[in-house]
Amino acid sequence: MAWTFKIFPSIGVARIGNNRSSSPQDFYLGPEIPGTVTVPANGYKDSSGQVRRQAARFRIYGWENGVFMGEITSSVANITWTVELANTKAAFNQFHGIGHTAGPLRNASVTDRSSLMITPGPRTITGPNGAAFFDTGLFMGISAPLGEIQTDASGRLLVLGGFGASSSPTNAPLVTFANNDGWHDDVSDGPVTATVALKGIKTPVQASGAWVICPPPRFAPPIFHIITLYDALLQTAVDRLGFKVPATPSFTNDIFPILQRAIRYQWVTTKIGNKHEPLLAVIPPPATADQRNFVFQALRDPAITPTVDTPHLMPAIWTDFFADVFGIRGHGGPNTGHWANHALTPTQYNVMKNWAAGNFINDWVGPPSPDTNITPDGLTRAALENCSGGPFFPGIETSFFTRDVYPYVGPFRLDGTQLKAGDLSKQQAVPWQTDFFDCVFQSPVSWWPAAHPDDVFTDTSNNYVTWDRGLNNFSDMVNFWSGLGFLVQSGDSVIETERTL
């Protein structure tokens, strides 16, 4: 009787916040069911305006001789969790765009490269109600805590990330969106492993490992990216692991989410406004062939070379290959009005192509209700669909390395034996706030309005206002990011709340 155990989500997401409390009432759990939005009962911020951290909760599921048995908790097993978080951004290569990753180094003049890496090492907890802190990491000799781990009463793992504390021990200026020497932040990532010993059975079994990323806060939880990290890594699974997706898409499960995301971008950028109203005409299905084709013909084909312009095609977000189109700010030419935009994934595009051709399952009975049960695969999907799957320039939660380069042992499950803590965040901007400041609408298209809203509505205004109003430069974002508002669903609208700037 052989048991196998796997950790879910296979990639979890814990988001940083400047509320430093470890108490459960001061943080909240990230989404665990696909399609759901987590709204903390006591707000995204505390009474002093500090942003609560979002914890990633990991669970272990067991199979016995291939038969799914269910979640394994401390009621039936002794579980030992080990997590390592690291931030190695400052020691990695400068970011100059996908395809330009060979260097030069960030902080090239620093010979002691280890002084640039915040590597507190692994932490281990056995059993329920434990805690351990990643508080021994240093950046240029200065303490740089990255967060903590806890176990709950059932022995599940909670990972809490850093505090949004970015600084420069050398008082270096912030000069670029991605590569600021002398600076660090406290986002991080790393492996999550566990051993499981069923009670009465002494030999522990190593669970199939997971990974956790601890990126910046998600300020617009009700708005999903048009290409989520789930979509991007699904494509990775299709391309590299031979993962099969259904030949005939479901309108409810496959097509409607793409349409809905596009429609809901109206809440985060005035550039969409009412321009996506034609999408309403194709819901409910089937709509006419002409209506479906009108929508499909507006999409950029992912087979088109990424640097080629496709004016006015969708989605209206920048390409991963921005550097090859324009050069990077300070290193290349000015914006010349190109429309080199990011295409849907090939899988998403094929879904829409099939739909346009009438090859889809019309299973529409209204917008789908989220599942009521937590499932292993649902945990992973819920975590990843709340992250950006592009453009990766360099990205907000993780980089193109995660999509294009890093090895996987199965769909959405990285091969942790071939990666080091910090690898999923090392190519991201340092500090994250500079890229986050820059990634607003940049004519003629946007970056990631679901991560950094361009324009929003408030509860007192029916007109768009700039979301990051009042923040005028990189330093402002470093110092005042936690004052930005969070977006929440309010009736049929999405409005900004809890702004404290």
Partner: protein, 237 residues
């Protein structure tokens, strides 16, 4: 609720299965068989289990005991595809009596109020010979331990487990307190409820069974397994 509606509500919907079920249960009831209902109740969070136990032990069981004198067992899942979850195992002498009693329970205003915000999970209906149901009460009550609900797909077994299967179980130290076949469209499926002292004993027992060459020749495939513990208020063990 008539029989067809009730079956539909518990997921037995095919007309052919309905007719088959009725014939099986009625004829077996005459031969002193039991119709066994497995009904799961779920909540979203472990913290809500107290409320579920309050309902099952404080409202559901007292009323059920008034209208049904047959075997009743209340279990809480410790490893199952859906948790947190409780499972109520109830045995009836006939299919019609099961419907009658369940309709009475469902119509009781106090029960309706108490379960208003509880999620009912899956229901299964099984049929078993009278001597295959060996629940205990009083001084014979099992002390602690775990119970495993385990289902097999075994087309070669036709309508009942062969004697060789029971013999292999005994050689492995596996002594089911319920051996039943599934009623309805999922036939042939066989379900066992097996007590074990602990997980280690359980693991050893199934390993012995897997190593038994005679068992291997019976071509039974596990389709599901869940592990439970008795609730303190369960009348039988």
């Amino acid at each position: 609720m008539n029989r067809r509606n009730w079956l539909s509500s518990v997921g037995v919907s095919a007309a052919g299965s309905l007719a088959g079920l009725s014939a099986v249960t009625d004829s077996q009831a005459n031969r002193r068989s039991w119709v066994v209902s497995l009904e799961s109740f779920r909540v979203s969070h472990a913290e809500q289990m107290g409320r579920l136990h309050s309902y099952l032990g404080g409202a559901f069981l007292p009323y059920l005991a008034q209208v049904h004198r047959g075997p009743k067992m209340f279990l809480e899942a410790i490893v199952a595809p859906h948790t947190p979850q409780a499972l109520v195992v109830t045995a009836f002498p006939s299919f019609d009596e099961m419907i009658e009693i369940r309709n009475k329970v469902a119509a009781h205003a106090g029960i309706q109020r108490a379960r208003a915000d509880l999620e009912s999970g899956e229901s299964q209906i099984l049929v078993t010979a009278a001597d295959s149901l060996q629940f205990r009460d009083g001084p014979d009550r099992r002390p602690g331990g775990i119970l495993e609900l385990r289902s097999y797909h075994a087309p070669a077994w036709r309508d009942r487990p062969p004697a060789a299967a029971s013999a292999a179980f005994r050689r492995a130290g596996i002594y089911p307190i319920l051996t039943a076949s599934a009623a309805g469209e999922h036939l042939p499926r066989f379900t066992y409820l097996v007590p074990f002292e602990n997980l280690a004993v359980r693991q050893d027992a199934w390993a012995k069974l897997d190593a038994d060459s005679e068992w291997s020749g019976l071509e039974a495939k596990v389709t599901g397994a869940s592990i439970y513990k008795l609730t303190p208020y369960s009348p039988l063990s």
